[in-house]
Symmetry: C2
Subunit: 80 residues, 2 copies
Amino acid sequence: THPGWERAGDALERVYPFPDYSAAVGFVMRVALAAERRDHHPDLLLSWGKVKVSWSTHDAGGITGLDTEMAALCDRLSAG
Amino acid sequence: THPGWERAGDALERVYPFPDYSAAVGFVMRVALAAERRDHHPDLLLSWGKVKVSWSTHDAGGITGLDTEMAALCDRLSAG
């Protein structure tokens, strides 16, 4: 498992804090674009000041290599 | 309560289905912009093909007039 990520059921989850709504929305958009590019889409929970990302491969019934790859990509995107 | 919306704890929730990810992301962005304009921010859960919106006024400990107003605005935004 990547640092900062936790297993929750059959998904890989991480909560990212952000200083304001604009930063959180920007992150959601960047993850959404990456998700569309790879045709692999997470659950994204956008609240004020934080975003929870949840990756799972439903067809495989759990976490795959693609999920951990996308998790690492989220970490890079969250760093700006 | 507005049609299609349900109380869940101290929040007002609705799930909107969308035909694809692009449409769901577009809706999230429109709601996010409206939320920022009114400085009142929902929980938005973006998944493939659907978005769950949850409104609550945490300072007031429940659902206020502003929440029902924003819920109606979401209905208008979801209609295109």
